[in-house]
């Protein structure tokens, strides 16, 4: 019973940690951009310019502009004022542009205040933010926010055009370049097959705790959970348009809680192979903790537009598997720990040494 109490305490502690570590509500969930049924897409960049590439990131919440031509390209803000500048000298932001502040969020959420110095009609005050040739910014024109429009409320199961055309204007020495896009409502898939898969995996995984030789299958289930979690997290960061080094740095910096889980899990895999009780305990805690973390991403199963962890299908499968493997491991660990405790009691009655922890 002592070992089971330890497991319960550990699981409770991991739940507390995951709750405390959760960020305030924002456009991002625990691990990714909030899934949605609104699909934003670019349909044209006219006139075409060599050395100019525009794409949407984070399901249309961000725009990426890469300008590798000889001259500067200026992004116009919400009032038509110079907002960003990208060129040979790097990326610059106009400190007088109201758009600059309207696109910022305060720590803890909510839009940032626009200072009195911001004036769309004022001459630009450029401030370099990067020496690169790529600018990324949040843009309110390229996405749908707020309540559903009446047409969607009336027919939520029908794909439909919500914003026929949005426009971003870029300006270079040769004139204006207009980026045209649109926003569509695409109904989400049914979550039930995925949740059913999670339940099946929970049952199968929990069943491992009843096997006589539980070490290798339990270690395999934990290794699978860790691999899915690592690949998904890396895939989500890669989807934000970052390079490999930046992805690695971001994962380490922003995924500290999952990172701790991965390290503990890797140790637990080795410990389970050696039948160590603490390894089983750690597997249960890591599994429970990663599954609770994945609950924050359950909208991935119900929305049509999800931040792809390399692909959208893998995102959905990863959430489903993490829930199933994670909660299943927690259950299996409890069963194994209980059995080990019983074996230890039986061994002590027979005068044998207790197994290593």
């Amino acid at each position: 019973m002592r070992a089971v109490r330890r497991l319960v305490v550990a699981v409770g502690a991991s739940l507390g940690i995951s709750v405390l570590a959760a960020a305030p509500a924002s456009a991002h969930t625990v691990a990714s951009v909030q899934p949605t049924n609104y699909r934003s897409e670019i349909v044209a960049v006219t006139p075409a310019r060599s050395g100019l590439r525009v794409r949407l990131l984070d399901l249309g919440r961000k725009v990426e502009l890469r300008a590798t031509g000889a001259g500067d390209v200026v992004v116009l803000g919400y009032q038509g004022e110079p907002y960003l500048r990208v060129g040979p000298g790097g990326v610059f932001e106009n400190r007088r542009s109201p758009t600059l502040y309207q696109n910022r969020t305060q720590p803890g959420g909510g839009p940032a205040k626009v200072p009195a110095t911001a004036d769309a009609a004022a001459p630009p005050e450029w401030h370099r933010t990067s020496t690169g040739r790529t600018a990324r910014w949040r843009d309110q024109r390229t996405r749908w926010e707020g309540p559903d429009p009446p047409s969607v409320s009336a027919s939520p199961h029908r794909a439909q055009l919500v914003v026929p055309a949005w426009h971003l204007t870029l300006r270079d020495a040769a004139g204006d370049v207009v980026v045209t896009g649109r926003v569509l409502w695409v109904p989400g898939p049914s979550p039930w097959p995925w949740l059913a898969a999670s339940v099946v995996v929970v049952a199968l995984c929990a069943g491992l705790g009843r096997r006589r030789r539980w070490e290798r299958p339990l270690a395999a289930a934990l290794a699978a959970l860790l691999a899915v979690s690592v690949v998904r997290t890396v895939g989500l960061e890669a989807a934000s348009g970052k390079g490999a080094a930046s992805v690695a740095a971001t994962v380490v910096a922003t995924s500290l809680v999952p990172l701790a889980g991965w390290i503990a899990g890797a140790w637990a895999v080795a410990a389970i192979h050696r039948r160590l009780e603490n390894g089983v305990l750690a597997a249960g805690v890591v599994g429970f903790f990663l599954a609770v973390f994945a609950l924050g991403d359950v909208l991935t199963l119900t929305r049509s537009q999800v931040q792809p962890a390399f692909t959208a299908s893998f995102s959905r499968a990863a959430v489903s598997l993490t829930l199933g493997l994670g909660f299943g491991l927690a259950a299996a660990s409890a069963l194994v720990v209980r059995r080990l405790a019983a074996e230890a009691r039986a061994g002590s009655r027979a005068g044998r040494r207790p197994p290593p922890r």
């Binding site: 045209t180 695409v186 199968l204 069943g207 860790l226």
Partner: protein, 229 residues
């Protein structure tokens, strides 16, 4: 996606020794094309597009940079500044975009009609005088039910001129020009049904990488233990 499930099922089946069935819910549907006259297989749920009328204010230099989009969003015309020249006494110009059943027009040379045709008409206000051409070339974007080989234009809807066409995506084609009149995309084959976009190939690659990582995580402690004296 099926590969992802099968990978998990093989693993769990091997671990538990039980027979398992895969579950799969498919992919998010693409947005449906809005037909004036849909093929029989696509009649269910079709939304018939309506004509669009849009006014563009004229300044001393003519029209500003703007765009005109059809009611169904399947045709967009992006106009550079001064595409519509200023004219004495004219304050606005009115675009009318009318979706047209392609079967009522002349056949395309060598290709099949890819979706609706669209008739673009432009007239000054208040005189009502029509314009046949723009003063500056504009870009025409057409959303199509299947990948387009070319966009064609026609003044009368009978004889068609093939235009230089760029493919923006599988569902969007673009061309540039100053002509108005009828526009119609052509495809290599007749339209049947919109195919579902699949990401099975990349997903299988990611699943493969995940399985390799899982096996490495699982086997590494065993290999380390074996190498130790």
């Amino acid at each position: 996606m099926a590969g992802a499930y099968l990978g998990v099922l093989v693993l769990t089946g091997w671990l538990t020794g039980r027979p398992l069935r895969p579950l799969f819910d498919g992919f998010a549907p693409p947005s449906p094309y809005h037909w004036v006259n849909p093929p029989p297989a696509l009649r269910s749920g079709n939304v018939t597009p309506k004509p669009t009328v849009l006014s563009v204010a004229l300044g001393p230099d003519g029209s500003p940079a703007t765009s005109v989009t059809s009611d169904d969003g399947q045709l967009s015309l992006n106009l550079p500044a001064r595409a519509i020249p200023a004219a004495p006494g004219q304050t606005t110009a009115t675009f009318t975009v009318t979706p047209v059943d392609a079967a009522t027009l002349g056949p395309l040379p060598d290709l099949f009609a890819d979706g609706n045709a669209y008739r673009l008409e432009l007239a000054y206000d208040p005189s009502g005088e029509p314009l046949e051409r723009l003063a500056q070339p504009a870009s025409v974007l057409m959303v199509v039910p299947q990948p387009a080989a070319s966009i064609f234009s026609s003044a009368d809807g009978r004889s068609w001129t093939r235009r230089d066409t760029s493919t923006v995506s599988n569902s969007t084609a673009a061309t540039t020009g100053a002509d108005l009149g009828y526009f119609l995309a052509g495809a290599a084959g007749p339209v049947r049904a919109v195919g579902r976009r699949s990401d099975i190939g990349p997903t299988l690659a990611v699943v493969g990488a995940t399985v390799v990582l899982a096996v490495a995580l699982w086997a590494a402690p065993l290999l380390v233990r074996r190498r130790r004296p």
